[in-house]
Amino acid sequence: MDQAQYLDEIFKLRNHKNIYVRREAQIALVVFMGWESLRFLPYLKRKITLWQQIKIVEKLHYLYPTPNLKWLHKAYKTDKVYAKQLLMRIIRKFELHQETDYILEMLNDENYELRETAIYCVQTFALPNEKMEYVKKVYEEGLDQNHQILLLRYIYDNSDFDLDFYVRQLYSENDELKLSVAEILWNNGHKEKVQEFYLQQYQNQSINVG
């Protein structure tokens, strides 16, 4: 019904204690203000649920398909996890290649949820080599095995085959990751590297026969 004159009233309800009231208020802000509504993200006091994030991204995409990066950059100031997740989802949905640094920055954040969203969002983009090197570095620093496995798949699917990188990972500490790396090497014609690694494990052991 487009009752934009009530914007001030709606604005007051954006942090309402009732989840449904604040949800509708936030959606209304997006509908009326579009990209400008993102500037309020740093000041939100309550968590934006996943569903709320999905709805905001959908509304923005449907009603305001042309990105206005000014407001997006202002929203980057937020320190709230849920707001950062929302921003990454917006970057993903609008395929904002120029903004991928924001997602990359979150790849090695201490917060598990943020890293998870960042990995999910980065998968939409094919990154240039220098950025992929950064992703590899994040992988090697490895905050969490689950995420390392996801990153490994992403690196494998989206970059040129880097033999040195994979061989290096084969000699890392984590057995689960080694197994995944071994599979990549094995399926890409480097069986000898896997066999070499396998045999060197028994190098220092004497085998008694008979």
Binding site: I19, Y20, R23, K47, T49, L50, W51, Q53, I54, V57, E58, R89, K93, Y112, E116, Q145, N146, I149, L150, E176, L179, S180, A182, E183, W186
Partner: protein, 483 residues
């Protein structure tokens, strides 16, 4: 002083102490049930309200919703495996994978699956196993485009928990749903189950369960429940009432105060990350669903992360209940052993303030009123016999008390049936409601004593170290409609 000692060992003291014990126990149990009715009705109202704000149609068209993998173990289910898999493959969800784990079946299940779904064998040498399981032989993927979301894991036998762990290892989604291959899941069940995760606020959802219904004698077509009928035999019929009461009153009530300790193994959704963190299902117990839920809760308490175990009142999964007394006894024997093992494994929680409400209330409740109830009932029967022999029973009062308790039980069952009928349209014909009520009123005489026998049998086995596994659960299968 000697008078006091003499009194303690006298018949009088034993008589009054026993009476007071059973009276207090019964009174406490009734209080819990009454509180359960109040909490459950509030929880159902709240769930309905939530579903109005987040409709299934909105979820199905949304992007960015969490991916879900359904894991179903199968052991020697060759007779029905194709229909069951087709049924589970037809579930609606935008980002959905289905993993069937063939847990070392000795029948022709795998051959049938390979033929029907044109499965292609893949090497399993490099699969990662964050949770250790029995060795995986091969991975199978369908060559047919319409079944790209199907994976079959062929592994050596390790039991249900082990098979579920193998599926969880292989899954790559955020959420995993654990079920059984012979369950019929409602088409929109996952869309409904994912709701609490989408609306997750300041508390992380570590497990979500859905109602489970008994569908003996119902008609199934193409793996979908076509016509829900009430079972013809008494045993499964009473189970319909029992499940309605347990899921609607019990679990919804506990869910309302975040005290739910059990999400049924037949249909439960978990974040994969958390399940892996706690090392999956415990293959050492036959009550792996209860054990996992308690371990997840304990894990979150240790991490000091706010969490919630939630339940949806609507029946989302249909299963075939034991058709007769013999199978029922086997099932309850196994459940009792599972409960014993889980209580023992987590005994450190008992009255442990470190685990807050779980240690101080929920776990003691399970110990006294879930684990303890069959023992108390059994002891009660012995006491009645002994007291009758000694002539200590005031029969008119005893009969009045018996009828009062019986009527209260009937009131709780009737309340559960009416709450269910009012909220959902599964059993809405007057004849069905009458049959359900009749089953509820007969339950204490024709069903409950067998239940207690099964449970005591399980405890007896644990007490004397008699080894027993899952036991053979003979099933008749659903009625399959050809038209």
């Amino acid at each position: 002083m000697w008078d006091k000692v003499e009194y303690i060992f006298s018949g009088d003291f034993v008589f009054w102490a026993t009476n007071y014990f059973f009276f207090t126990y019964g009174l406490l149990l009734m209080t819990f049930y009454l509180a359960g009715v109040v909490l459950a009705s509030r929880a159902i109202k709240r769930t309905k309200q939530r579903s109005m704000f987040l409709q299934v149609n909105d979820i199905v068209s949304a992007t960015d919703i969490p991916s879900v993998t359904l894991v179903a173990p199968a052991y020697n289910e060759g007779l029905t495996i194709i229909e069951n898999v087709k049924s589970l493959l037809s579930i609606q969800y935008p980002y959905y994978e289905f993993i069937l784990v063939n847990d070392g079946s000795k029948d022709d299940s795998l051959e049938k699956l390979i033929k029907e779904f044109q499965l292609e064998r893949h090497d399993a040498t490099f699969i990662t196993q964050p949770i250790p399981t029995a060795s995986v032989k091969y991975i199978y993927k369908s060559k047919l485009k319409k079944y790209t979301h199907l994976t079959v894991i062929d592994k050596n036998n390790g039991g249900r928990a082990d098979a579920l762990n193998a599926g969880i290892n292989f899954a790559t989604s955020e959420l995993v749903v654990c079920t059984d291959a012979d369950c019929i899941i409602e088409q929109d069940a996952l869309l409904k189950m994912v709701r609490p995760y989408l609306e997750e606020d300041d508390k992380e959802i570590v497990a979500c369960g859905g109602g489970i219904g008994i569908a003996n004698d119902s008609v199934v077509k193409n793996g979908v429940l076509k016509e829900l009928r009430l079972p013809e035999a008494l045993v499964p019929m009473v189970q319909v009432v029992e499940y309605i009461r347990a899921f609607l009153l019990g679990r919804m009530a506990w869910s309302e105060i975040n005290g739910l300790m059990l999400v049924s193994g037949a249909f439960g959704m978990y974040p994969r990350k958390r399940v892996i963190e706690v090392n999956g299902f415990d293959a050492r117990t036959v009550g792996e669903d209860l054990e996992l839920c308690i371990r997840l809760r304990t894990h979150m308490e240790n991490l000091k992360i706010p969490y919630k175990v939630t339940y949806l009142p609507e029946t989302l999964c249909w299963t075939e209940g034991p058709p007769d007394y013999s199978v029922l006894v086997k099932q309850r024997d196994r459940w009792a052993r599972g409960l014993w093992e889980t209580m023992k494994l987590h005994r450190k929680l008992f009255l442990n303030p470190k685990y807050r409400e779980m240690g101080m209330l929920y776990f003691p409740y399970w110990l006294f009123f879930e684990f303890g109830a069959p023992i108390v009932e059994f002891l009660g029967l012995i006491c009645i016999i002994v007291f009758a022999i000694f002539g200590w029973i005031n029969w008119p009062v005893a009969l009045l008390l018996f009828f009062a308790v019986y009527l209260l039980g009937c009131v709780f069952s009737s309340a559960a049936i009416f709450m269910y009928v009012k909220s959902f349209d599964h059993y809405n014909k007057p004849k069905q409601i009458m049959e359900l009520l009749l089953a509820a009123y007969l339950e204490p005489f024709l069903y409950h004593p067998v239940l207690v026998f099964g449970q005591m049998k399980g405890y007896y086995k644990k007490l004397f170290g008699i080894k027993s596994g899952w036991g053979n659960m003979t099933r008749k299968g659903f009625k399959v409609s050809e038209n």
